[in-house]
Amino acid sequence: MVKAKDFWNYLCGELDYRFFAGVACPGLSPLYKKMKPKFMHYVPAVNERIGLGIVSGAYMAGYKGGLLMDMAFAYDLTSFIKFNVNNRIPLLVIGYGDRDSALTYDFPSEFINGPTYDKKIRKVATASEFEKIPGLIVIKEGVLS
């Protein structure tokens, strides 16, 4: 199991990702419940594309950020993040789903299915920052608590 509180502590405290946007998704509900408004900024977006734009804009102003999204959009993820790939704007896309939705893309991605999530997140975050492209973190359904 992955504790949502620890997940945020790691992402905000260790990796300095502080600016998030997204659309409420049932699979990620533990993350929404354990958000730390003092250490991070979350923008409830109208839809995922707008959320993506907001996080990308925040990056331009110096804030690393991520997008919480429903992986129902995963089938179109490559075209969805084209803006970021073209303009070399990194961000973390965090969704929930199965292993396949994490490993079908040619940008940094990891599948989290257990407590050793920290190394995986760091790997994706580092690669995303280094290559200036989006990174994808897919959390297995039911792993978050």
């Binding site: 109208v46 707008i50 734009g53 907001i54 804009g57 990056y59 110096g62 303009n87 200036k132």
Partner: protein
């Protein structure tokens, strides 16, 4: 008035500290003729430009002007509600309404069939204003005084003529350099104003002190 001319006058009216985002291939091409370090061109935006500008506006005190066509706005109409909800006073959408998709030969958009364009925007809690008449009457001197006082979130509706400027050169920019230039421009704090309230609070590292009533009493007796 032609879109090319409207853009030129707009750029003259804006402050050097403002950030300009242009969305759409033809619009970018026209704006590129007046290129500057504070301009960000998104040729294939597909509805991201306004949200991108809003993200910037949330994290800086600099004014962000996003220039887009009505077709682009219709694609992501929800962004109007998002901008209204943000209450960011430094985000402005400059809606250049020419009634159609210029890249598709001027094929008409559905924006003209909207009952009230202003109402559509206003009901999303976003201010809406138009300077079409002022531009047509060439009242630029008056506008020069008014523009620094504009407060968002605001949509500036501008009616422009159909058609695009012919014979313009293709945009030749390295997107990575463009990103770095604009980012550097935003982060240049030497020009920031006192308006800015950072969205993210710093980590609490100071110990809180409680009020000592005894100390107050002592002070009063003396």
């Amino acid at each position: 008035m032609k879109r090319y001319t409207v853009i030129k006058h707009f750029m003259d009216l804006l402050h050097e500290n403002d950030i300009l985002i242009f969305s759409g291939s033809e619009l970018c091409k026209e704006a590129y003729q007046y290129k500057n370090n504070n301009c960000f061109y998104i040729e294939d935006s597909v509805g991201t430009a306004a949200a991108f500008g809003l993200g910037m506006a949330m994290c800086t005190d600099k004014r962000i002007f996003v220039f887009l066509g009505e077709g682009e706005l219709l694609r992501e109409l929800g962004v109007i509600a998002q901008i209204g909800a943000s209450k960011c006073s430094n985000i402005f959408l400059v809606l250049l309404d020419n009634g159609g998709y210029q890249t598709a030969g001027g094929y008409p958009s559905v924006f003209d069939s909207v009952l009230s364009k202003k109402g559509l925007i206003f009901n999303s809690n976003t201010k809406v204003i138009t300077f079409t008449k002022h531009f047509r009457d060439k009242e630029f001197k008056r506008l020069k005084d008014r523009f620094p006082r504009l407060m968002g979130p605001m949509v500036i509706l501008m009616d422009v003529d159909k058609g695009t400027k012919k014979g313009l050169s293709k945009i030749n920019i390295n997107l990575k350099i463009q990103r770095d230039n604009v980012s550097k421009f935003i982060l240049d704090s030497t020009k920031e104003t006192a308006m800015f309230v950072p969205p993210i609070l710093p980590m609490p590292d100071v110990e809180t002190k409680t009020l000592d009533i005894d100390m107050l009493n002592t002070g009063g007796n003396n």
